[in-house]
Structure formats: C-alpha cells, structure tokens
C-alpha cells in the first residue's frame, strides 16, 4: 500500500473492505461461480478449510479490477487478504495450503475454526 492509497477512492474502498472483513478474496466471479480457474482454486482451498470469507468480484468494476492491482502492487487476480494484510495470489495460497502454512496462519489470525 502506498501513500496514494488514502486519496484514491477505489483504494479507499479496498482498504475499508479488507479492514471490515477478516478474510477477503478479490476474485473473478463470485465464490459460488468463479469465472477463472485460479480464482476457483483459491475458493476451493478456503472452502476446504472451512474459512468464512467475503468474495469481491472484480469483473463487476473495471476501476476495481485495476485498483486492486495497484493497491497490492500485484498484477494478477485472485488476491487473498487476511486481517487487512495481503497474503498472496493463487500460487502462494496453494503452496501455503500444501505445506500446512495456510492452516496455521489462519489459526493464528483466529479466522479458522479449530
């Protein structure tokens, strides 16, 4: 996040979304109907772990689709945020899930049911 984050209205919206909700997934499509394989993989992982998350469909808004990329300094979708912190895209989330790091990270943040 940069200094510009507070002045750009889209960045402001994103900052609010990730502070209001403990787990937010910026994705293509909605959790029940992802519209990209990478978004779908992250939804499946979160569902598998029983994480309660909010999905934000970036396809609904071109400014949002671009804004999330500059907000996170990350060029691709999906993007996972936990407690306001950018965790990663599809590769990182999958890697963390496979080596068990994601489970412990979510537990530490109190967003995973034991």
């Amino acid at each position: 996040m940069t200094e510009a984050a507070t002045t750009d209205p889209v960045h402001k919206f994103i900052a609010e979304a990730v502070s209001e909700h403990p787990v937010v997934l910026f994705m293509k499509g909605v959790p029940d109907q992802p519209r990209c394989g990478f978004s779908s993989q992250v939804v499946q992982i979160l569902d598998q772990l029983g994480v309660d998350f909010v999905g934000v469909d970036v396809l609904q808004s071109e400014p949002l689709r671009n804004g999330i990329k500059t907000y996170s300094d990350w060029p691709t979708i999906p993007q996972l945020y936990v407690k306001g912190e950018f965790v990663g895209g599809c590769d990182i989330v999958r890697e963390m899930y496979q080596n068990g790091e994601l489970q412990s990270f979510l537990e530490q943040n109190g967003v995973l049911a034991q």
Binding site: F38, K69, W74, P75, T76, G88, D91, I92
Partner: protein, 77 residues
Amino acid sequence: MPMPIEELEAALREGFPDAEIQVEDLAGDNDHYRARIVSSAFKGVPRVKQHQLVYAALKGRMGGELHALALETSAPA
C-alpha cells in the same frame, strides 16, 4: 496477448542474472507459463516480495501481455 517463451526467459534472465531459471509453456499457447527461479536475490525475502520482484522484472507485462505465469521462487540451498 501472448508472449514468446524466449522473450519471457530473456526478461527473467535480465532481471535475475545469477539465477537458475526454468520456464515451461503449460498450455502450448504462449500465454500460460510456469517459471521456477532459484536466485540469491530471494534470500531472506518473503514470498509475496519474491513474486513482486519477478513481476517487476517483467516490467508491467504480467497481467497484460502475459495472462498466466505460475511462479515457484526460492533462494539457493
């Protein structure tokens, strides 16, 4: 818009001159790649930052010209 594998490899080599780099074209369409990069530049760097370094080396082409690049980054053992 696709990117030839040679161009992708060249950009990565330029960004990480000391690295061991393997690039695979996953779908055979010049648009879905996997890159494994082992570079000392990643030593002690968190994973998100490692991937950001790779995207920086691609100078904004990721997400535009290049649709999918699965990344595996690590520092030499």
